[in-house]
């Protein structure tokens, strides 16, 4: 067996999988997006750009997604980083495993059930009732963008914690000592050594969370009360309520393109930052 055929054999399962589960469905979506809605719903073949021309009708969904997905990613990062830092650098090694498991524990229950729990916590008898008890009246949390943001951060936090933790955990602690020996303050050591070294973890975590958030629909559906709409919710509606497969496909195709553009731009930014860091290191 030649090297080439061995490579092909190794790639065959993944290749077949991507062909059936990714390439073919995406092609179907693309073809449908140029079609028309059937009389009772569904799809009839056609070649028209009408569906794409109608995209502004879903502007609000795109806007919400493009605001809340980055906001959710950033909020997750701000909360996850100190936690990952503590777990990797500061935590007592004897407790590290236990603490890590505690981060994963919520994953043992379905996100659906955990999101339902938030309905109660954010509803009138939950946090607002506690706030009312200390004199802050009439706080409305459930079914607001803020509630969706809370749900997002809650749901996606572990996905952000782990890549950063893995990165910081492998950090050579002698570098920190060296920095300190050379007279850098702890803060300066963090900014010039720890943070740049953990950039790959941050980049991975942000990418994971951001990509999943762009396609999110469950959390806004449950904690947004059908009012805080992501593109994912618009898609569910187009396929499951108004049964407009053609328009739904156009929205889906646009979301994929949007995702490709943002992720490419993001990767380039990260690469440039990484290159700069190497330049600095060489100096």
């Amino acid at each position: 067996m030649t090297q080439r055929s061995r490579n092909l054999l190794l790639l065959a399962p993944a290749g077949a999988w991507f062909l059936v589960m990714l390439v073919i469905p995406l092609t179907v979506v693309l073809i449908f997006s140029f079609g028309e809605r059937g009389a009772a719903g569904g799809y009839v073949p056609a070649f028209t750009l009408d569906q794409y021309a109608n995209l502004p009708a879903r502007w609000a969904a795109f806007k919400n997604t493009l605001i809340l997905a980055p906001a959710g990613t950033l909020a997750s990062l701000l909360i996850a980083y100190p936690l990952a830092y503590y777990l990797a650098v500061r935590a007592d090694p004897r407790w590290k495993t236990v603490l890590l498991v505690l981060v994963i524990v919520p994953f043992w229950t379905s996100i659906l059930i955990r999101s339902y729990a938030w309905i109660f916590l954010l509803g009138g008898r939950g946090i607002p009732a506690l706030l009312a008890a200390i004199g802050i009246e009439d706080v409305r949390l459930i079914n607001t963008p803020f509630a969706v943001l809370i749900g997002i951060v809650y749901g996606y936090l572990p996905l952000m914690v782990f890549p950063i933790f893995v990165n910081l955990d492998r950090l050579d602690k002698r570098l920190l000592e060296a920095s300190s020996d050379l007279g850098a303050s702890p803060w300066r050591t963090f900014l010039q050594v720890t943070l740049p070294m953990s950039l790959p973890g941050i980049a991975t975590g942000c990418l994971l969370v951001f990509i999943l958030l762009m396609g999110e629909f469950l959390i806004p559906a449950i904690l947004g009360g059908g009012k805080v709409f992501f593109v994912g919710n618009a898609l569910v509606d187009l396929f499951l309520q108004s049964r407009n497969w053609a328009f739904g496909s156009a929205v889906a195709a646009t979301l994929v393109i949007l995702m490709l553009v943002t992720v490419t731009a993001y990767m380039r930014l990260i690469r440039r930052l990484g290159a700069q860091r190497e330049d600095v290191a060489l100096m």
């Binding site: 809605r37 879903r58 609000a60 079914n143 059908g226 509606d237 187009l238 049964r243």
Partner: protein, 386 residues
Amino acid sequence: MTKDNDHISKRKFMEELYRYKRGSVTRRHFLGVTGLGTASAVLAAAVPALRPRRAWAQGDIGDRVVLATWPNYHDPANFEAFTEATGAAVDVNVFGSNEEMLAKLQAGGSGWDVFVPTNYTITTYVGEGLIDPLDAARMANYDASAFDPRFAGPGIVDNTLYAVSKNWGTTGYAINISKNDNVTPTSWKEFWDMTMDSFSGRTMVHDYQLTTIGNALKYFGYSFNSVDPAELADAEKLLLDAKPHLFAINSDYQPSMRSGDAWMTMCWTGDGKQMNRDMPEIVYVLGKEGGELWSDFYAIPKGAPHLDAAYALIDFLLTPEVNAKEALFHGYPVADSRVNALLPAEVLNDPILYPAAELLDALEFGAAATLTDPNRAELLARFKSA
């Protein structure tokens, strides 16, 4: 019974009884050796009421049946009894709109055995070839003559039975009047005006084009079923104006109403009854401008994976005693006179279930055109994504 005896002495009988009571012999042995098993079987054959004749209790129908239905629409105890009697567990999928059910069936592979469509959708299901005709012979408890044709009629298309009547009801709204100085409003105009004023952030509308658009049309006095573009444009403007004031767009509104997060919601008869039963301050209102009168059905989608179980479940739920329990639980009126004969007078006189004639007369049945009209479908989707 493998060991039936022709005769058994009194003493021997008592010995066997004590042995059985002590647990040293099985029930099967006891019935066999004493002849009681044969006796009860003979007795059962002679007295039809004791015979387990019901179709749903016969044969092996598999271990599950999948039912697609609406929120708060069944007594769970009945499902348990069905599973007990047949061995088939009932998987319940809950939906908030007919459109969602239609979309699932159009996409194929829904896996449903029984679903609950509303009157105005059945011709579309038949036209699209999505449901199978029902074989009345497989539903021993179905008696066509017992049903009020006004509500059961839409189940028959081109003289063929496609669906059997489940319940009928109205679509009005429920309001927690303790939040409104104990004043009960009477119109859809008040519903929308209060939503945008004193009830801001406290109102829910259905995630369902027929009722949410229909009841917005009623604000202007248009037909609940309008597909006129100018009238729909008015309704859309009202919906968009009201949207920032809504608590949620969701057809499962009981939890929010009961917790006090929501104060007013579009509401179906039975939900209104269930909430009013537990919290008298939540009252059910039919808008005087009109609104929807509907009837729901049991139907079997084409290609149902557990067909025997589907017929067994429908037949079970149509059993008057079972159906009466359902009605007492969910508070929706039944079109079956055999069931009504079993219901207590206070249910049959309940103004939530059986509204006054002048309120009922103003209501309209949903029209088939609304289900397939692309403008109504897109209007609701736009409203939600706005």
